[in-house]
Amino acid sequence: MIARTALLALLPIVAAIALTQRRRLTAIIGMGLFSFLLAVSYLLLHAPDVALTEATIGLGLITAIYVLAIRRTGRLTVVADEAPGLFVREGDRIVGLEHEILARFARHLGLDLSVQFVPHRDVADLVRSGEADVGAGGWVLGEEAGVFATRPHLDTALFTVGGTKEGTGEGVPRVRYEGYFADLDPKSLYTAETPVTLDLARFLAVQRSDVPDDSVTRHPQPRGYAFVVNGRRRDLHSALDAYIERLREDGELDRLAGRFLA
């Protein structure tokens, strides 16, 4: 009797944990475990037929088709946020400097490229968790635990925009741009209380001439756009680095930059 109430009490906990996972694969496996516990609790409710059906369908089939739908083989998975000039959605095509580089790199490895647009803050998490192979979309070189950044393929600068007069002092916390570029509203950016730090490509897209230029501060030290690769995938990281070097040597990188970043 105790085992029954304990198991029944366990069900909501396992379900809640499974659904609050950030990684989809963990959530699916979590729900698989939930189905198993549910099948066992049906046994305790004297319903063997239902337990068998729940186990075979809930645990077996549903988890199988989810894993098959998510499973990645034979593909280079790229997650990125939209960045003008680097990773842009045009109708149902995608263009941009970084997309061109990664598309050629994928062809070079014999894989087909699969791109997904995610908020900027999730790029590092998805790459670190192994759900995606490469993170792109105007990623400015910075130290992120467990993630390798390739050598920068394009130099850039950081701008802090907005913040009221007294808000742009040194001590004020600078909020890094995190969300969807599509949701970024240029008008409210300049009037927001907390200043937002943007990279060059996105700053050029939201720049407005009719704003006093003292509310925009340019950070002095030089920065560079780079790709982000999972810490455990050394082979992919070195291959991507070598590929970008080769592009830079035969001038292909500058030609592409000219074409996309007029």
């Binding site: 699916i28 729900m31 959605r89």
Partner: protein, 119 residues
């Protein structure tokens, strides 16, 4: 007790559908809501210290009620059918919109609808 757990599971699933924006997690939550309602139905048919309803002469002891169990066999299969189809539709959406974020897809669909002059 089991009925209450079923309703709580249904609630957790609903909250996850309303809050999580990733479509795959929403479908998992939908699976959870259906599992919750099925647990309620099975819990209704159970008696304290009952026995499994497989018996030639079933009058000597208390047996669990077979009707909810038979109904639930159909409900589980129906929920699998719905989830398999919903997953296929999410794959079609990702192929076109390259994102599994429901709010993002909603904006892109509205953009397509406005361009195409309505459905």
């Amino acid at each position: 007790m089991a009925f209450s757990v079923g309703v709580v599971l249904f609630g957790i699933g609903l909250v996850a559908i309303a809050i999580r924006r990733d479509l795959v997690i929403k479908l998992l939550a939908l699976g959870l809501t259906n599992a919750g309602s099925i647990l309620c139905l099975v819990a209704v048919g159970d008696r304290p210290d009952a026995r499994v309803p497989i018996c030639a002469v079933c009058r000597d002891a208390i047996y669990a009620d077979p009707l909810p169990q038979a109904l639930v066999l159909s409900a589980i299969v129906i929920n699998f059918a719905i989830l398999a189809l919903a997953l296929v539709f999410v794959m079609r959406l990702v192929e076109r919109y390259r994102s599994t974020d429901s709010r993002h897809i909603e904006d892109l669909v509205q953009r397509d609808l406005d361009e195409g002059g309505g459905p």
